[in-house]
């Protein structure tokens, strides 16, 4: 059964182009021009993935509102922002609202399709039954790969799916530098450099909220990030 993708985009031409491209790759695509139209349709049936533009018609931030509403309705629904707004503020806001990815409109179809595929692959991985339960322990860090729960010094840390995969990738090989590509592969996502940096920052913040002295994730400048072995 083909995956259902909803595109919420007020630019007809670009929406149609993406619809055609996605349909060509076997997805079932629905296009909505405005937030009310999309919410009306989502109330009936949720898609498997939503691609949302930030500015929707007269609503300058209609996409953010839609994302917030949609996340409430479907906490694990993959959401991608596809927008012309590329400021750091918009990017951070979009990801904070629970979007899994934030793409700018100059992205090529190939690149976009790769990200969509990666997202579906991650969802599939989560939904697939685990072969065996595994508890990864790395000093105060404990990761339950079965329940996807993360604890730091027995304090639960609430991470998003992408953040979880990044932490798991780093902590499973303490001391080893993981470059951005390796982290993307581990998270089954395709993210640009800035987005990886944003994710790392947010991960650090969440750990520091639990432990002010947290400094387990070290930046290897020019290369990537490493989980410090001293915290193993």
């Amino acid at each position: 059964m083909p995956k259902r993708i909803a595109i919420v985009e007020d630019e007809i031409a670009i929406a149609q182009n993406y619809c055609d491209a996605l349909a060509r790759h076997g997805y079932e695509v629905s296009h909505y021009c405005s937030r009310p139209e999309a919410m009306k349709a989502f109330a009936v049936r949720l898609p498997d993935l939503a691609i949302i533009d930030v500015g929707l018609g007269d609503e300058a931030e209609g996409g953010f509102d839609l994302c917030r509403d949609l996340r409430v309705k479907a906490p694990i629904l993959p959401i991608i922002f596809l927008t012309a707004r590329d400021t750091e503020l918009d990017r951070v806001l979009g990801l904070r609202l629970g979007a899994d990815d934030y793409l700018t409109k100059d992205i090529s179809q190939v690149h976009m399709l790769a990200r969509i595929t990666a997202l579906f692959r991650r969802v599939d991985a989560l939904s697939a039954p685990q072969q065996k339960s595994e508890l990864v322990a790395c000093g105060p860090l404990q990761i339950d790969t079965q329940t996807l729960r993360v604890n730091w010094a027995l304090h639960p840390i609430e991470l998003t799916i992408t953040e979880y995969w990044i932490v798991l990738a780093l902590a499973s090989r303490p001391g080893h530098v993981k470059n951005r590509q390796q982290l993307m592969d581990a998270a089954n996502v395709v993210l640009d450099d800035n987005t990886i940096t944003s994710h790392i920052k947010r991960i650090r913040k969440k750990f520091k909220a639990a432990d002010g002295a947290f400094d387990a994730i070290q930046t290897a400048y020019g290369m990537g990030y490493r989980w410090l072995p001293s915290h193993s």
Partner: protein, 717 residues
């Protein structure tokens, strides 16, 4: 020239006021003097009319006028010492000359001979004669020999003066009754021969009883063989002198500081009454006025002639009827009027002359005070005007300087303007004058400029946002078209269009990157980290990324000898990495073929900032920065360095459009923003490059320079 100096110089023009005051004073003074002369003329005319009523005086004048020829015996001030030295005769300057009448008639006196004589009368009516003869060889008295002699003849007696030696002399007298010469002891004479000047000087004192007797005077020269006469044809001459008996009758007619002299028709004074306040007799002027009046008189209204008594004899032809004479600081008015016994025509000979001198020193002193106060007032006014002008200029100069300073403070280091800076540093004046207006206009101008700058700063971001959607339409359409299964030719053109769109997209990303960074700086969190380790890490990464480009790192510590001590720095490491990325990318783009890039970092103590700093220098050999653009290269959208032939070649051989580097001039701008975020400074230096060993591309060596970007990051503790 500053405004203050200009107005000061302009203010000096007011010094013309005292000059104008002096000119005005000169005009008034001239008018007043003319009036005083007219007044003196009338006074003298009246005096003449009164004197004509004095019968004795007029008769005496008429009598004197008939006594011709005559000689004027000037009054002597002190007793004359008859010694032949002529020291008591200051007026002995040849005013009286002996005329010649000799045995051999009509012979002219040789030019080498000068003979002069004068007469005088003492206060006791004693008469004096003085002679000075040069060019004559004296022949002294010797018995039975011809000798020189001075012969004085009266109608009933005669005197003969001879000298037996060079200093001395004896007088002999012969009366009509006696018939022979006898030694005369009533008179005294001295004959002195000066061998140096070959002059004969003779002084002769005669008894007072001779004062009313006409006389003839001759010098008989033995050398010449004839006599020199004091009067033409040796005619008898009458004595003429001051006759003080008339002074009492005239004195009541005169006021103070007036002097009246009556001259007979021949120009010899008869009587002199009154006195002027000459010299120390002048009224005292205030010190402040005295110098000013002296100065004024000296430069503006000084009479042409110095004061002196009328010459004797008074020459009618040269007499000025009205004139001013200069006597120290008090001018003297002089009026000369002829005396006629009855109304006559203009050609009639006068009976005599009245010369009236009047000095009004008190009036002059009063005038001097008035004039001085007037001039001092003008000077004070001019000084006050100059001071007021300078003060006025200082005030406005200060306002303009403050305005300029405020305007300058509103500009950031790179000339950027912001509404916040303007609000902090520039307050428009509320003054209603032109400077206030200028201030308000400047304020409006700065605000407009700041808005314009803000618009330009946001333009790239806005532009990229607006263009991204149509590019996405083009890009997705091309992708869809490509997916349709195109033939080779179609695929070729679609590919080119796609590359163009990607390049445009990259350009937009680069344009908005700086703007995005600027916006994100306010939310960036600082952390404390080891900058030494960071620099080591990134250079190792650069060496891998930019291989085969050689990047040489050098780290040292000037603050401590412990070279492995971490350089703890508080900042945003991601931003610093981004800054170094831009700088190293820039250096690699412009590095000449086969030349290394030097990455030098050090912890130093910066004396200017007074704190420890991390100094990072990234140096490459490449095209020089244009002169004067060392600071502008950090501005947004400024790209000034032309790539070297080798870098141009590298770009030309890029595989695709998308691989070609962009030269939007934003990299260094981003570096500056990050540097400023860390309170640091960045500068670019371009030095001549001389390296003979460099032989990679010899044709480049003449255009190469050593370009260094130096960053100074203060370590905040």
């Amino acid at each position: 020239m500053s405004l203050k100096r200009q107005l000061f110089l302009l203010g000096l023009l007011t010094l013309v006021l005292p000059w104008l005051a002096l000119r005005y004073m000169a005009q008034v003074d001239s008018t007043l003097r003319q009036m005083r002369l007219v007044n003196l003329q009338e006074l003298t005319e009246n005096t003449r009319r009164l004197l004509l009523q004095n019968q004795a005086l007029t008769q005496r004048l008429q009598a004197r006028n008939l006594s011709v020829p005559a000689t004027f015996a000037a009054p002597v001030v002190a007793d004359v010492l008859v010694d032949g030295y002529l020291t008591e005769w200051p007026a002995f300057n040849g005013r009286c000359v002996l005329s010649v009448c000799q045995a051999r008639r009509f012979m002219a006196l040789p030019t080498s001979i000068q003979a002069q004589w004068l007469s005088a009368k003492g206060a006791d009516d004693t008469l004096y004669l003085a002679f000075r003869l040069t060019g004559l060889t004296p022949v002294l008295y010797q018995p039975q020999a011809v000798s020189d002699a001075v012969i004085l003849r009266f109608d009933d007696e005669q005197f003969k003066l001879q000298a037996a030696r060079s200093g001395g002399g004896f007088v002999q007298r012969k009366t009509a009754g006696q018939g022979r010469w006898q030694r005369d002891y009533a008179s005294e004479a001295f004959w002195r021969i000066d061998n140096n000047s070959e002059a004969i000087a003779i002084e002769w004192r005669l008894p007072a009883r001779l004062k009313n007797k006409p006389f003839s005077l001759a010098f008989a020269s033995a050398q010449l063989g004839y006599s020199l006469f004091a009067s033409v044809n040796n005619q008898p001459m009458y004595w003429a002198f001051y006759e003080s008996s008339y002074a009492d009758s005239i004195a009541p007619l005169l006021g103070p500081e007036q002097r009246l002299m009556v001259f007979d028709a021949r120009g010899y004074p008869l009587v002199e009454v009154g006195a002027l306040a000459l010299g120390y007799g002048l009224p005292t002027l205030g010190v402040g006025h005295s110098w000013l009046m002296r100065w004024y008189l000296y430069f503006f209204n000084k009479p042409a002639q110095h004061y002196q008594k009328p010459s004797v004899p008074l020459a009618e032809g040269t007499v000025e009827r009205q004139q001013w004479l200069f006597n120290r600081i008090a001018p003297v008015a002089r009026v000369t009027v002829p005396i006629f016994t009855a109304p006559t025509n203009a050609h009639a000979q006068p009976m005599g002359w009245l010369v009236m001198d009047r000095q009004e020193s008190r009036f002059d002193a009063m005038l001097a005070e008035v004039y001085s106060e007037f001039v001092l007032l003008c000077i004070a006014f001019a000084v006050v005007v100059v001071l007021v002008l300078v003060g006025f200029a200082s005030l406005h100069s200060w306002r303009i300087r403050r305005l300029a300073s405020s305007a300058q403070r509103t500009l950031g280091e790179q000339g950027e303007l912001s509404a916040q800076l303007i609000a902090q540093n520039f307050k428009a004046s509320k003054s209603p004058d032109e400077i206030g207006q200028l201030s308000r206009s400047l304020s409006v101008l700065l605000m407009r400029l700041s808005r314009q700058q803000a618009y330009l700063r946001n333009l790239a971001g806005k532009l990229s946002h607006e263009l991204r959607t149509p590019i996405a339409v083009i890009q997705s359409s091309l992708d869809n078209l490509d997916a349709q299964g195109l033939d080779q030719n179609q695929a070729k053109y679609v590919k080119r269009a796609g590359e163009g769109a990607k390049r445009l997209s990259r350009t937009l990303n680069a344009m908005s990157a700086a703007n995005a960074l600027e916006q994100s700086l306010s939310t960036v969190e600082r952390e404390r980290f080891d900058l030494r380790a960071l620099l080591g890490d990134i250079v190792a990464a650069y060496q891998g990324v930019y291989a085969p480009q050689v990047i040489v790192i050098k780290r040292y510590d000037e603050v401590t000898a412990e070279h492995s001590e971490p350089w703890l720095f508080e900042g945003a490491p991601e931003l610093l990495v981004q800054m170094f990325d831009k700088l190293i990318e820039n250096a690699c783009q412009f590095a000449a073929h086969n030349t290394p890039i030097h990455f030098e970092c050090a912890r130093v103590f910066d004396t200017r900032q007074g704190c420890e700093c991390i100094r990072v220098s990234i140096c490459n050999v490449g095209p020089a920065l244009p002169k004067g653009m060392e600071q502008q290269v950090f501005d947004s959208m400024v790209s000034v360095r032309a790539p070297t032939p080798s870098t141009r070649e590298r770009e030309r051989h890029s595989k695709s459009e998308t691989a070609k580097p962009l030269h939007l001039g934003l990299g260094l701008y981003v570096a500056r923003l990050i540097c400023a975020f860390h309170q640091g400074s960045i500068r670019a230096l371009s030095e001549p490059y001389h390296d003979d060993s460099h032989n990679g591309l010899p044709h480049e060596s003449n255009i190469l320079a050593k370009v260094t970007f130096e960053i100074l990051l203060p370590i905040t503790r």
